[in-house]
Point group: C2
Chain length 423, copies 2
């Protein structure tokens, strides 16, 4: 057989033991919080009929979708995100689902994109939704899930930025923006996180909005004084927002971690109500989660209307942030103990292994009859914290040598004592 | 937007909350056993350069591989299994990996196959390997993983059928089969699980093997009397097999669950040493796990030799077997408690929710202000075992109504009493 160069496709990644262990730990944290609030898991296939995916994300999305003909001449596509497949699933199964339907989904998606730092052709999406409700309790619960997730990964100074499409509409119209210019104005405001207030004002002026109106927009939305101030606002939409904050408080979201931000315009062309974005001020890679309320999840698959609210977590970024915090510095992979193999007392080594495993300690016996040095190097490479050395001498004495791999110290103890130290 | 029919591709499946919860439970069991023996997780991408996949599984494999050109004119393929990508990963990374390398991998693979009952275009593979060792300790450890997995899923009467390529070679040659006919004979023996001994004898005769030799093959391999008998066999290969059984015993594999089967020919064209297959006699869907020892995992990607041993679990079949046993009859999904929403005492309902969650109980507040009946139906559909009803009357009394959803009984208790009952 000719030898193929062992390289993976650009923009895709292999995850070795350490990376995968970290990722599984983070997934476990996320799943625990989703379960805590009653979100159930679902999974849809990676491959779909192309017509399910194409035309759902605009021209750019179609271009970035991997699509192809299978050998039965069917048009197939790899999923581009998990929202459209979830919409298909809900449209097909709603009558059998509990409604409102609370689901989470964690899986890879594919984009035929130019790979860049932090941008991949295959990456994991992780999102939750409550589908089939217009209740603000749902919006607040989603904020609580955000709060709990970031607490659970060990973060204290994250901020959940919140805005509402209705509130922003009201403020823009009150400032004097004509209805047809409201959305273009929001698109301009969306640029604020990459530019200055002055530049945003220029953009709005360029839309044909009067100078006086632009000044009013600055005064009531853009300026740092008012941006985060709900109390001075009036009207139905401001009242709803206040209700939202009260409910979030009831769910246990701490005030210091949630904040109105009238300039948050994240996907306000898609979202119709509350929008969210989570940032960690010291972490410059970008937002770590985001989402919002929409009018109708499944409009492309059904005449029935499914309003809901959902968020997606930036899984790679969360792993990266935790890495930077040193969360994984003392990461232990599968094995907690390596039992060194001595061929002349192999039976005793195996008994020791079984005893450890019966005490719920993940342990392995080195499979080869190699030199001690090689076996210890193996333990080191696998980040195994403890090694048990039990040669014929130790067997005679009824003891084992317990080696602490980080300090390099080893002591002669009984197996029971070793187990106590390991636990 | 025109409405797309919400159907998924034939041969692929959506997994709703119940199915996914079951699958995650099974994965958790498998992972715990893999960790117990020190197997670390890895993950490779779903999409690979086509040259990585094509030509690795023969003509049939190439035909069943989803391959296509991306918009950069690169030839891409969806992985066909996890072994070839693991081989690529090991060939590229071996110098940084602990050796022997013990890894597990769980993920979807794709086959452009005709869908049939139990045969899918997208399905999960789950496999473990020890790569870079020829030690029989590794072969025995793999048997121990098999044993522990089937014990852990609640099975008692499974059988690990074991054979060895070397042993079968020896027996066939001793019976008088010429070297060039050994492999064709094994291919014929492989048919035994679908046909009779007489038919297999006919197949071997048709290969041009003498009648006397065929009689000898029956006498020493095929007949029920000798098939499972190691003790009467001689030679190096029989001795190795005995060592394997002794080591498996040392790892805790019980005698009644492991058995030599000289007629097991599972992929003996690929495997070069020990082969395994797990069956549950009462379960007629087929084998639940299988694998064996190979000479060189990464020969298609490297000049370095990586002998090893591995097994794959039939994930769908394991889930199916557990379902048939009633393992999931009382399955609880995410939520353990639904707190009914009463808009007039919503604050108190939320406090109750938080108290439950602080006691590590997964609980949710119904998000809408719906009629009690609707809220109870929701709990029923989500298989939530407990409902807490706390209207204004209960709030006044400082009590809650705790409803057991399976019995329909409800009682007035304090929240603390409710928590005790739930736990």
């Amino acid at each position: 057989m000719p030898i193929t160069e062992p390289k993976n496709l650009k923009g895709t990644r292999d995850f070795g033991p350490e990376e995968m262990t970290k990722r599984l730990l983070v997934l476990e944290i996320l799943r625990a919080i989703f379960n805590k609030y009653g979100y159930d898991p679902i999974e849809t296939p990676a491959i779909e009929y192309a017509e399910t995916i194409l035309g759902k994300y605009g021209e750019e999305g179609d271009k970035l979708t991997y699509s192809f003909k299978d050998n039965g001449d069917r048009d197939i596509a790899l999923r581009y995100d998990q929202t459209v497949p979830t919409a298909r699933f809900v449209a097909a199964n709603w009558s059998n689902l509990p409604m409102p339907f609370k689901r989470y989904q964690i899986g890879p998606v594919w984009r035929a994109d130019k790979p860049q730092k932090g941008r991949y052709r295959e990456f994991v999406q992780c999102d939750i939704d409550i589908i089939g409700t217009t209740s603000l309790v749902a919006d607040a619960e989603v904020a609580a899930v955000l709060f709990d997730v970031f607490k659970a990964i060990g973060c204290d100074d994250f901020v959940i930025r919140v805005n509402s499409r209705a509130l922003l509409n009201d403020l823009l119209q009150k400032a004097g923006v004509k209805e047809e210019l409201v959305t273009p104005c929001i698109v301009a405001i969306d640029k604020l996180d990459k530019t200055s207030v002055d530049k945003v004002k220029e953009l709005i002026l360029a839309l044909g909005v009067d100078k006086a109106v632009v000044a009013k927009i600055e005064e009531t939305i853009l300026s740092e004084k008012v941006r985060n101030e709900l109390s001075s606002l009036e009207g139905e939409s401001a009242k709803s927002m206040q209700t939202f904050f009260d409910l979030a408080d009831g769910f246990g979201v701490e005030e210091k971690n949630i904040m109105l931000d009238l300039t948050l315009a994240r996907g306000l062309d898609y979202y119709t109500g509350t929008t969210y974005e989570v940032i960690i001020p010291d972490f410059k890679v970008g937002s770590l989660a985001g989402g919002g309320r929409y009018d109708n999840l499944a409009e492309m698959f059904s005449n029935k209307s499914f309003p809901g609210v959902g968020i997606a977590f930036g899984f790679d970024r969360i792993v990266l942030w935790m890495e930077e915090q040193g969360t994984f510095d003392n990461l232990i992979l599968a094995s907690e103990v390596l039992v060194v193999q001595f061929p002349d007392v192999l039976k005793e080594n195996m008994k020791t292994l079984k005893t450890l495993q019966e005490e719920s300690i993940n342990a392995e016996l080195y499979v080869d009859a190699a030199k001690m040095d090689k076996q210890l190097k193996y333990a080191d490479k696998k980040r195994i914290p403890w090694v048990i050395i039990q040669g014929s001498q130790e067997v005679e004495k009824g003891e084992v040598l317990l080696r602490n791999m980080s300090s390099g110290e080893q002591e002669s103890v009984t197996l029971q004592e070793a187990i106590e130290k390991i636990n």
